[in-house]
Symmetry: C2
Subunit: 324 residues, 2 copies
């Protein structure tokens, strides 16, 4: 495994993020920033929600995947792209490939939820199913790459993907340059890396925090130790955050983030429901983690102007976490 220092060089800078923003602008939404005085009162802060749940495919992942796909040279792009994903990255890559008019294959575990399969098929990508374990997934990815000559697009360990994810924070700070703090959920760390690079390049004094489930606190532990710590047995409803950092994203986060907050499952459900009820917007459990950290006080932002990257809104409406 390459060490964190060596790969840290392969991170986007503000120029790359601005280039990504221009590249993807025709294909993604400039999402609104919403406010809610009831939640401000609850958290004793002024919160600015950057609504990536309203993004194409319902998640910020559309930004990174679109930047990666449109960054490919034509000779490479025409063979198509491949992702392994059981979640939003697969749908995002399928969406981006369709925009460019190239093929996409998504390797998914055979037990994936039907709603996630539908999200990939909607954009014309081909699903290849594997057994739900990492060796089976890697074997099938290798097979698809060999068959097709397509390019693998990693969900986060890729500077083009990180630059794309960073464009959400870029827009947020364009709209609200006076923010004191920005918080983003952290799974593999692509969003948080990009957010930290964009926000601190634009405003050196800003504090950037990650937020993750206490039950999957590998990023908090990795941030402290400086090494990629293994993911614990992760039983969390935040299915988007059951991923370990890469050395690349860890380097960016240690460099640019002021800390990582963690939240209990109960606080995540409460934050999710509060957002649905008070803001009338649908957010997925992973997107509720920053607010959950504020409700539990694991991140202290009292009195501050706080941007929150609302990462996505893909939820199975027939299985809500407050319904048992």
């Amino acid at each position: 495994m390459p060490d964190a220092e060596g790969r840290a060089a392969q991170l986007p800078d503000l120029a790359a993020i601005r280039a990504a923003h221009a590249r993807i602008a025709p294909y993604v939404h400039r999402t609104p920033v919403l406010r809610c005085s009831a939640i401000d009162d609850e958290t004793r802060a002024r919160l600015y929600f950057k609504c990536e749940n309203f993004q194409k495919v319902g998640a910020f992942k559309a930004r990174g995947a679109t930047n990666a796909v449109f960054s490919l040279p034509e000779a490479e792009a025409r063979h198509g792209v491949v992702a392994h994903s059981s979640g939003n990255h697969g749908a995002a890559l399928a969406y981006a490939a369709r925009q460019r008019g190239i093929a996409a294959w998504v390797v998914m575990p055979e037990n994936s939820a039907k709603v996630k399969q539908d999200n990939v098929r909607r954009f014309g990508a081909t699903i290849r199913f594997c057994a739900p374990n990492i060796p089976a997934r890697e074997a099938l990815c290798a097979e698809v790459l060999a068959e097709t000559g397509a390019t693998m697009v990693h969900p986060f360990d890729d500077p083009r993907v990180i630059a794309g994810q960073a464009t959400a924070a870029l827009e947020l700070l364009e709209d609200h340059p006076d923010l004191d703090v920005v918080i983003a959920p952290v799974g593999g760390g692509g969003l948080l890396s990009g957010t930290a690079i964009a926000a601190r390049s634009l405003k050196a004094s800003i504090r950037v925090y990650g937020a993750e489930p206490a039950n999957a606190d590998d990023a908090a532990r990795s941030y402290k130790s400086g090494n990629v710590e293994p993911l614990p047995q992760a039983t969390t409803i935040a299915d988007g955050l059951r991923t370990t950092l890469a050395p690349r994203t860890l380097a960016a986060i240690r460099e640019g983030a002021a800390g990582i907050g963690t939240a209990s499952e109960e606080a995540m459900v409460r934050a999710m429901r509060m957002t649905w009820e008070r803001m009338k917007m649908i957010i997925e459990p992973s997107a509720a983690v920053p607010l959950a950290c504020l409700l539990e006080g694991t991140l202290d932002v009292a009195g501050a102007k706080v941007g929150i990257i609302v990462s996505g809104g893909n939820v199975d409406l027939d299985r809500l976490p407050w319904q048992t």
Copy 2:
């Protein structure tokens, strides 16, 4: 009952609507306009959703109530305001009164849902409960007015309220002046009246439609006959639309609207769920009626640029219409 012609004079014009917009701007959100290509494809039109579900108190009603409350002369305002409402208008009046720092009383049927009571109490209004019938309601309203000297604010039969509701369409057309059509739900007709006056004053060629449940199609029948037709036995999930037009709103709607579409209960549930799933936003059943009319083809807007006033997002998350 005063006749429609006589009261039609008491409707706001564009100047009154612009004055309302300036008056309420400090207290209400300028809501975003969102788009969704999947729903565009489904309806073969280009839809622009004006998101009043993100408005204060979760509904456009905040606009009308705020305009009414801030239009009161000080000598009148200091005695407070009264509404009878089992829904969003009560919460909106409570909100507006709190912004002005005056008292509010809301007369509600004793069987009102707790979530609706909470929405009124949150803003410090006093609830007075009556038996769930019109004579009991009127008796209690008269009693509260006599006790307090407060001013009654009608949910729709009031030119200040209509001017306030009209500001949503004003903003929508400021943002998207090239719309061909605007559609608003119609219950008592305050929103549709204001929408028609604002939109057609700004752009004479625009078509404005109302949308209502087929099971509560009094507006469609009144529009045809020219008389306020009684509300049928209304068994509809669109609880915000179980109201009959007033002569005043009927006059405005016959003058300014090109027609009224109706939708089945099934189409409303489908439109509501489609909006939740595709747009990641929470809309209440009443707010789904315009899209439901497009899905059922009772309004024909193929190829047009269509603004939809998304009226509100107040839903009991424990009782969703697709869950039985």
